[in-house]
């Protein structure tokens, strides 16, 4: 799943360095919207503004954890 998410997001947002552990600080609101949309569509999960926290968007791994937690609900 990690590789698939990384590939999807890197493809959609080519200027973002998804290897960063400070991902949230690299993103702007348009990038956040795109990530929410891509992950919602790909995994059929509901993401909203309350999910957009520095912790959830810290790195690609934390985004994977966010998706996994939504899928397990």
């Amino acid at each position: 799943m990690r590789q698939h998410i990384l590939s999807l997001l890197s493809d959609a947002l080519p200027t973002v360095d998804f290897s960063s552990d400070f991902l949230f600080s690299e993103l702007d609101s348009l990038s956040i919207v795109n990530i929410l949309m891509i992950l919602s569509d790909e995994y059929g999960i509901k993401l909203d503004s309350s999910d957009v926290t520095p912790r959830n968007f810290k790195s690609i791994d934390s985004l994977v954890s966010l998706v996994e937690s939504k899928l397990n609900r």
Partner: protein, 441 residues
């Protein structure tokens, strides 16, 4: 009264009142005034002289407010650039403004998109800034008990020119670093203020409606007003926002760096008229020619462009700004926008000249030819797309190209979408055929 004179007055009458909040930091009017005076002295000690420009990157924090006002207090000219402005553009602006002399009424130079692939410095007088703040105070009813959220970049007129009326009336500014942390945006509503207002570009309103509608409804009682502008908002979003905030004033404003804030319309009227910008504000006059061109005059208009008399002459004639906006006046006397002349692309309220993007892309080794066009994003509306013809038909390394552009352009000018094409459309005389792509979009 200027912004700095107002802050000084509030530092005497309401010294302990909070003037600016940013994250966990805040500053009272008395501390703000002390900091402005101290910073002005420091800048003067570093060599800043009256009527000379001070170029700096606009940080998104309290320090920006101190520096901005300190430059004015030192009788110098504030030239705030985008926080992430590239070294190249910073140096170019600095060299340009430092080679010029300015009249003593110029207090701000704001860089905005030009029509030649190069940003233009818009010179603004103290009268223009004070009159623009007065327009907001009188027509949008800024009050001392207001907490105003500024989430956009502070070098942009839509944010910077909101700081003026809020601090002029003795209200409180809350600075956020964009809207990406929507939890931070909603946390502001838990602060002990009964009236909260903000400016949001239509793309940000769409973002809130799409991902935070219920949370927006839950803070409705505190929302005094929301102002939008800088790009068209749809009738659908006007209606949705009105339903979420039934008792709030919701303004659609016509403004621009060259003209100031000049017209506004409260669309929480059950009509949700798309494109309507209402009537001229107190210090502004707006005319619409029979051909549909919008002409603005009054106290808020710019003094001219830096080092570009030819462009100034084209736009500013006898104190009137001949804008690129097109519109009409309805039977009720309300002004409506219906488009814009020229090739500039409006991305979330930022005007982008595609030529600037194409010039930067052309310096990337693998690019043979390219055109920057507008594309539609399902949530935020207009975004930039770059169509690229590669040399020797090689594969397009989108990531490398995007990072190349990111190192040369302001962030909002970097396209979101990239597509390799076999050729780009050109007119019979070899110019890029932008009309063809506009029709396609």
């Amino acid at each position: 009264m200027t912004l700095e004179e107002s802050i000084h007055a509030h530092s005497v009458t309401t010294p302990d009142k909070t003037a600016v909040i940013c994250g966990d930091s805040s500053i009272t009017y008395s501390r703000l005034w002390e900091s402005i005076v101290g910073r002005a002295a420091a800048l003067q000690a570093e060599g800043l002289e009256p009527d000379r420009p001070y170029v700096y990157r606009a940080s998104q924090d309290i320090d920006f407010v101190i520096t901005y006002c300190a430059v004015h207090y030192a009788k110098a000219i504030a030239v705030p650039l985008e926080h992430k402005a590239s070294e190249e553009s910073f140096r170019a602006v600095k060299a340009e403004v430092e080679s010029c002399t300015f009249s003593d009424d110029i207090v701000d130079i704001l860089y905005t998109t030009g029509t030649t692939g190069k940003s233009k410095g818009v010179m603004l007088s103290e009268t223009a800034l004070v009159s623009c703040a007065d327009n907001f105070i009188c027509d949008l009813h800024f009050s001392p008990d207001l907490l105003f959220i500024i989430s956009g970049p502070l070098n942009h007129i839509a944010s910077l020119f909101k700081m003026h009326p809020v601090l002029t009336v003795g209200g409180t500014v809350c600075i956020l670093d964009g809207l990406k942390d929507m939890n931070a945006f909603f946390d502001v509503f838990s602060l002990p203020y009964s009236k909260v207002a903000t400016f949001l570009v239509p793309a940000s309103i769409r973002l809130l409606l799409q991902f935070s509608y219920d949370r927006l409804c839950s803070v409705a009682d505190k929302v005094d007003f929301i102002e939008t502008g800088a790009a068209p908002i749809t009738s659908h979003d006007m209606e949705l926002l009105s339903k979420a905030l039934p008792h709030s004033r919701l303004y659609n404003t016509l403004g621009g760096t060259e003209i100031g804030a000049v017209c506004t319309y409260d669309f929480n009227d059950g009509k949700y008229m798309e494109g309507c910008i209402g009537r001229p504000m107190k210090n502004s006059t707006v005319e619409v020619t029979p051909e549909g061109n919008i002409i603005v005059s009054g106290l808020t208009v710019m003094s001219g462009y830096v080092a570009d008399e030819e462009s100034t002459r084209k736009v500013l004639k006898n104190g009137k700004i001949y804008s690129a906006d097109l519109g009409y006046v309805d039977e009720a006397g309300l002004i409506h926008l219906k488009g814009r002349q020229g090739d500039v692309i409006n991305v979330g309220g930022f005007k982008v000249d595609p030529v600037e993007v194409e010039n930067a892309a052309s310096s990337f080794a693998a690019v043979e030819d390219c055109i920057c066009i507008a594309d539609t994003h399902p949530v935020v509306g207009t975004v930039l797309k770059l169509l690229v013809v590669t040399k020797d038909d090689a594969e397009l390394d989108r990531q490398a190209l995007a990072r190349h552009l990111k190192s040369r352009l302001d962030p909002h000018k970097v396209p979101l979408y990239y597509e390799k094409v076999s050729s780009v459309m050109r007119t019979y005389n070899g110019k890029l055929d932008r009309k063809y792509y506009r029709k396609q979009n």
